[in-house]
Amino acid sequence: LAKTTQPISMDSYEGQEVNITCSHNNIATNDYITWYQQFPSQGPRFIIQGYKTKVTNEVASLFIPADRKSSTLSLPRVSLSDTAVYYCLVGPSYHGSSNTGKLIFGQGTTLQVKP
Protein backbone atom coordinates (compact mmCIF):
# COMPACT_ATOMS: atom_id res chain seq x y z
CA LEU A 1 0.00 0.00 0.00
CA ALA A 2 1.30 3.42 -0.97
CA LYS A 3 2.48 5.69 1.82
CA THR A 4 1.17 9.24 1.92
CA THR A 5 2.71 12.41 3.32
CA GLN A 6 0.71 15.52 4.17
CA PRO A 7 1.28 18.57 6.39
CA ILE A 8 0.56 18.03 10.07
CA SER A 9 -1.42 21.25 10.44
CA MET A 10 -2.73 24.29 8.57
CA ASP A 11 -4.44 27.50 9.58
CA SER A 12 -6.92 29.51 7.55
CA TYR A 13 -9.58 32.18 7.93
CA GLU A 14 -13.25 32.04 7.19
CA GLY A 15 -14.09 32.66 3.55
CA GLN A 16 -10.68 31.65 2.23
CA GLU A 17 -9.93 28.78 -0.12
CA VAL A 18 -7.83 26.05 1.49
CA ASN A 19 -5.59 23.68 -0.44
CA ILE A 20 -4.14 20.62 1.28
CA THR A 21 -1.50 18.75 -0.69
CA CYS A 22 -0.65 15.11 -0.24
CA SER A 23 2.32 13.29 -1.74
CA HIS A 24 2.14 9.61 -2.68
CA ASN A 25 5.25 8.84 -4.70
CA ASN A 26 4.68 5.07 -4.69
CA ILE A 27 1.10 5.12 -5.91
CA ALA A 28 0.24 2.03 -7.94
CA THR A 29 -1.51 1.97 -11.30
CA ASN A 30 -4.72 0.63 -9.77
CA ASP A 31 -4.80 2.97 -6.78
CA TYR A 32 -7.38 5.68 -6.26
CA ILE A 33 -6.87 8.75 -4.08
CA THR A 34 -9.45 9.23 -1.36
CA TRP A 35 -9.92 12.01 1.18
CA TYR A 36 -11.72 11.82 4.52
CA GLN A 37 -12.72 14.43 7.11
CA GLN A 38 -12.86 13.77 10.85
CA PHE A 39 -14.41 15.97 13.51
CA PRO A 40 -13.49 15.46 17.20
CA SER A 41 -15.16 12.46 18.82
CA GLN A 42 -16.59 11.25 15.50
CA GLY A 43 -15.62 8.69 12.91
CA PRO A 44 -14.13 9.90 9.61
CA ARG A 45 -16.44 10.90 6.78
CA PHE A 46 -15.75 10.33 3.08
CA ILE A 47 -15.25 13.59 1.15
CA ILE A 48 -14.04 12.81 -2.36
CA GLN A 49 -12.17 10.31 -4.48
CA GLY A 50 -10.35 10.55 -7.79
CA TYR A 51 -8.00 8.73 -10.13
CA LYS A 52 -6.59 11.48 -12.35
CA THR A 53 -7.14 15.10 -13.43
CA LYS A 54 -9.90 16.89 -11.51
CA VAL A 55 -12.93 15.77 -9.57
CA THR A 56 -15.47 18.12 -8.03
CA ASN A 57 -18.48 17.56 -5.83
CA GLU A 58 -20.66 19.76 -3.65
CA VAL A 59 -18.08 19.81 -0.87
CA ALA A 60 -14.61 19.93 -2.43
CA SER A 61 -12.41 19.57 -5.49
CA LEU A 62 -9.56 17.16 -5.97
CA PHE A 63 -6.70 17.96 -8.32
CA ILE A 64 -4.40 15.17 -9.49
CA PRO A 65 -1.46 15.86 -11.84
CA ALA A 66 -0.62 13.56 -14.69
CA ASP A 67 2.12 11.68 -12.79
CA ARG A 68 -0.31 11.07 -9.89
CA LYS A 69 2.50 11.36 -7.34
CA SER A 70 0.61 14.02 -5.45
CA SER A 71 -2.90 15.35 -5.06
CA THR A 72 -4.50 18.52 -3.71
CA LEU A 73 -7.76 18.76 -1.83
CA SER A 74 -9.35 22.16 -2.33
CA LEU A 75 -12.01 23.48 0.05
CA PRO A 76 -13.72 26.63 -1.29
CA ARG A 77 -14.59 29.43 1.13
CA VAL A 78 -14.08 27.56 4.38
CA SER A 79 -16.13 28.25 7.49
CA LEU A 80 -15.50 27.54 11.17
CA SER A 81 -17.33 24.24 10.79
CA ASP A 82 -14.62 23.01 8.40
CA THR A 83 -12.17 22.83 11.30
CA ALA A 84 -11.27 19.15 11.32
CA VAL A 85 -8.60 16.60 10.50
CA TYR A 86 -8.28 15.70 6.81
CA TYR A 87 -6.83 12.37 5.71
CA CYS A 88 -5.39 11.49 2.33
CA LEU A 89 -5.38 7.78 1.45
CA VAL A 90 -4.53 5.71 -1.60
CA GLY A 91 -5.62 2.20 -2.46
CA PRO A 92 -7.50 0.06 -4.99
CA SER A 93 -11.23 0.37 -5.11
CA TYR A 94 -12.40 -2.68 -7.03
CA HIS A 95 -12.84 -6.41 -6.60
CA GLY A 96 -9.88 -8.58 -7.44
CA SER A 97 -7.15 -6.91 -5.43
CA SER A 98 -6.10 -8.31 -2.07
CA ASN A 99 -5.83 -4.72 -0.87
CA THR A 100 -9.32 -3.67 -1.96
CA GLY A 101 -10.80 -1.34 0.62
CA LYS A 102 -7.75 -1.68 2.84
CA LEU A 103 -7.01 1.95 3.55
CA ILE A 104 -4.18 3.20 5.73
CA PHE A 105 -4.94 6.40 7.64
CA GLY A 106 -1.87 8.47 8.50
CA GLN A 107 -1.85 11.31 11.00
CA GLY A 108 -3.78 13.57 8.65
CA THR A 109 -3.76 17.36 8.43
CA THR A 110 -5.39 19.32 11.21
CA LEU A 111 -7.09 22.33 9.65
CA GLN A 112 -7.92 25.19 12.00
CA VAL A 113 -10.28 27.81 10.56
CA LYS A 114 -10.24 31.13 12.39
CA PRO A 115 -12.91 33.84 12.37
Partner: protein
Protein backbone atom coordinates in the same frame (compact mmCIF):
# COMPACT_ATOMS: atom_id res chain seq x y z
CA UNK B 1 -31.40 3.34 7.86
CA UNK B 2 -29.35 3.38 11.05
CA UNK B 3 -26.09 3.06 9.10
CA UNK B 4 -23.29 1.67 11.26
CA UNK B 5 -23.96 1.15 14.95
CA UNK B 6 -21.55 0.13 17.69
CA UNK B 7 -22.18 -1.42 21.09
CA UNK B 8 -21.24 -0.39 23.73
CA UNK B 9 -20.37 3.32 23.51
CA UNK B 10 -18.17 3.27 26.60
CA UNK B 11 -16.49 0.55 28.62
CA UNK B 12 -13.97 0.30 31.44
CA UNK B 13 -12.10 -2.96 31.90
CA UNK B 14 -9.53 -4.24 34.32
CA UNK B 15 -6.31 -5.74 32.99
CA UNK B 16 -6.88 -9.34 32.00
CA UNK B 17 -10.63 -9.07 31.49
CA UNK B 18 -12.22 -9.94 28.19
CA UNK B 19 -14.93 -8.26 26.16
CA UNK B 20 -16.56 -8.18 22.76
CA UNK B 21 -17.42 -5.09 20.75
CA UNK B 22 -20.33 -5.41 18.37
CA UNK B 23 -20.65 -3.61 15.05
CA UNK B 24 -23.78 -3.78 12.93
CA UNK B 25 -24.57 -2.26 9.53
CA UNK B 26 -27.81 -2.19 7.60
CA UNK B 27 -26.46 -1.10 4.20
CA UNK B 28 -25.76 -4.63 2.92
CA UNK B 29 -22.06 -3.80 2.61
CA UNK B 30 -19.58 -6.52 1.81
CA UNK B 31 -16.59 -4.98 3.59
CA UNK B 32 -16.29 -4.28 7.30
CA UNK B 33 -13.41 -2.94 9.36
CA UNK B 34 -12.21 -2.37 12.89
CA UNK B 35 -9.88 0.55 13.62
CA UNK B 36 -8.38 1.97 16.76
CA UNK B 37 -7.51 5.62 17.28
CA UNK B 38 -5.21 6.80 20.03
CA UNK B 39 -5.14 10.45 21.16
CA UNK B 40 -3.71 12.75 18.50
CA UNK B 41 -3.15 9.89 16.09
CA UNK B 42 -4.72 8.66 12.91
CA UNK B 43 -6.73 5.48 12.67
CA UNK B 44 -4.96 2.15 12.56
CA UNK B 45 -6.57 -0.88 10.97
CA UNK B 46 -6.90 -3.84 13.33
CA UNK B 47 -8.79 -6.44 11.28
CA UNK B 48 -11.10 -6.34 8.33
CA UNK B 49 -13.49 -8.57 6.42
CA UNK B 50 -14.24 -8.71 2.71
CA UNK B 51 -17.32 -10.87 3.13
CA UNK B 52 -19.36 -13.07 5.43
CA UNK B 53 -17.23 -15.79 6.97
CA UNK B 54 -13.91 -14.15 6.03
CA UNK B 55 -11.50 -12.04 8.08
CA UNK B 56 -8.00 -10.67 7.56
CA UNK B 57 -5.34 -8.94 9.63
CA UNK B 58 -4.69 -5.23 9.39
CA UNK B 59 -1.80 -3.17 10.73
CA UNK B 60 -2.18 -3.91 14.46
CA UNK B 61 -3.98 -7.26 14.91
CA UNK B 62 -2.14 -8.57 17.99
CA UNK B 63 -4.32 -8.98 21.07
CA UNK B 64 -7.56 -8.91 19.07
CA UNK B 65 -9.77 -11.46 17.37
CA UNK B 66 -12.71 -10.95 15.04
CA UNK B 67 -15.61 -12.86 13.59
CA UNK B 68 -18.05 -12.21 10.75
CA UNK B 69 -20.67 -14.91 11.04
CA UNK B 70 -23.38 -12.72 9.52
CA UNK B 71 -22.91 -10.20 6.74
CA UNK B 72 -24.34 -7.37 8.80
CA UNK B 73 -22.28 -7.98 11.96
CA UNK B 74 -18.58 -7.75 12.73
CA UNK B 75 -17.38 -8.61 16.23
CA UNK B 76 -14.10 -7.50 17.81
CA UNK B 77 -12.88 -9.47 20.80
CA UNK B 78 -10.25 -8.72 23.40
CA UNK B 79 -9.33 -11.96 25.16
CA UNK B 80 -7.11 -10.47 27.86
CA UNK B 81 -7.26 -6.68 27.95
CA UNK B 82 -4.10 -4.65 28.52
CA UNK B 83 -3.68 -0.92 29.31
CA UNK B 84 -2.08 -0.49 25.85
CA UNK B 85 -5.49 -1.30 24.37
CA UNK B 86 -7.02 1.83 25.87
CA UNK B 87 -8.29 3.63 22.80
CA UNK B 88 -11.30 4.65 20.76
CA UNK B 89 -12.47 1.85 18.50
CA UNK B 90 -14.25 2.61 15.25
CA UNK B 91 -16.08 0.18 13.07
CA UNK B 92 -16.70 0.90 9.40
CA UNK B 93 -18.38 -0.75 6.45
CA UNK B 94 -18.10 -0.30 2.70
CA UNK B 95 -19.33 -1.78 -0.53
CA UNK B 96 -18.67 -1.78 -4.22
CA UNK B 97 -21.65 0.39 -5.11
CA UNK B 98 -21.22 4.05 -5.99
CA UNK B 99 -18.37 5.84 -7.71
CA UNK B 100 -15.96 5.43 -4.81
CA UNK B 101 -16.32 1.67 -4.59
CA UNK B 102 -14.79 -0.03 -1.59
CA UNK B 103 -12.84 3.08 -0.58
CA UNK B 104 -15.98 4.87 0.60
CA UNK B 105 -16.28 3.65 4.14
CA UNK B 106 -19.07 4.52 6.54
CA UNK B 107 -18.03 4.82 10.16
CA UNK B 108 -19.84 4.14 13.40
CA UNK B 109 -19.82 6.53 16.37
CA UNK B 110 -16.98 4.75 18.15
CA UNK B 111 -16.47 2.89 21.43
CA UNK B 112 -14.30 4.47 24.11
CA UNK B 113 -12.46 1.70 25.95
CA UNK B 114 -10.35 2.23 29.04
CA UNK B 115 -8.26 -0.60 30.46
CA UNK B 116 -7.06 -0.05 34.02
Amino acid sequence: NAGVTQTPKFRVLKTGQSMTLLCAQDMNHEYMYWYRQDPGMGLRLIHYSVGEGTTAKGEVPDGYNVSRLKKQNFLLGLESAAPSQTSVYFCASGGMTGLAGANEQFFGPGTRLTVL
